[in-house]
Symmetry: C2
Subunit: 158 residues, 2 copies
DNA sequence: CCCCTCTGTTTGACACGTCAATCATATCGA
DNA sequence: TCGATATGATTGACGTGTCAAACAGAGGGG
């Protein structure tokens, strides 16, 4: 099934698009590099550690963890492999389902997460929250909401 | 020189932050995958082809190309290597500076770019421009502007 | 003219993401 | 119970991004 195309974006719309997408990318990469130099963690590491930290017993089934952070399974599997090598988590077999694996936060992982949190949230505040006016911050929330609905509509109705 | 930290973001601010950053990431990846299936090009390919297409004689020095699309040199070098293997561009020595390299658009590359443009701009319109109200679109532009200024301030004053 | 230093570019190593394929176990229906 | 199929997770291949190191040629001062 082909896609119908209406009129293309105007020059001004395209300018906003490029500005928006390039700037959000710069923001992501800036925060990633600060997280890396402050805490030796990648954003992926942080997401995983955060989810495990909040989980019952500091442990989660692989698939629940994937769902919690919105990742594909194979991405998570690769990432957990790298994190396990560094001693941030370990994997244990699941008692109730022999197929399953659980990821468990290690002490090192918990400590790394605690050390990372404050500087990271500070950077988010500095580069995002405090950079925008309250109106802009609210608008950013509404924009994200609108885009999310559109993305859900594009992928969801299988 | 350590960083001073003010109060951390509130729960609501953090919710907006996460929503914003995750949604822009989903948007990026959605458009990347559509570009890939429509045109067998990555967003990086498209950026390079666009810059070369607009350049005098469909060719640019590596460093000018890098500046035009805002990439680090080594990233561009790797990417040009991959594009050259696929026949989208070729590299020629620079006549006026024996260190220099020029990237030149091939006929295949130009054709790939032309075929990609319409569906890609259509997708941008569909997923971004038409998804937002005119007010939200304008707000997105202002938000990007504010964030960009902040990012420039953080990296620029060397 | 030669050396030192800058500049333009490439390279290698490694982390990250996606896709398709694989593997083992669960589970359901005949 | 047996066999087909579904599910949980891992793997391999490959494109992509970053960092630091390597290299080659340009340019300037002695």
């Amino acid at each position: 099934m082909g896609r119908r195309h209406g009129p293309l974006p105007t020059t001004e719309e395209l300018r906003i698009w490029r500005d928006f997408i390039e700037t959000t990318e710069r923001l992501r990469s800036h925060l990633a590099s600060r997280l890396q130099s402050d805490s030796a963690l990648s954003p992926g590491d942080y997401a995983v550690l955060l989810a495990l930290h909040e989980a019952e017993g500091h442990r989660l089934r692989s698939s629940e963890l994937a769902a919690a952070i919105g990742w594909e399974r194979s991405r998570l599997s690769h990432h957990l492999g790298r994190m396990e090598r560094r001693g941030l988590i370990r994997r244990v077999e699941c008692a109730t389902d022999n197929r399953g694996a659980e990821a468990v936060l290690t002490d090192d992982g918990a400590q790394a997460f605690r050390r990372a949190t404050l500087p990271h949230l500070g950077a988010v505040r500095e580069m995002f929250v405090d950079t925008l006016t309250p109106e802009q911050l609210a608008a950013a929330g509404e924009i994200a909401q609108a885009l999310r609905v559109r993305l859900d509509a594009a992928s969801g109705p299988s």
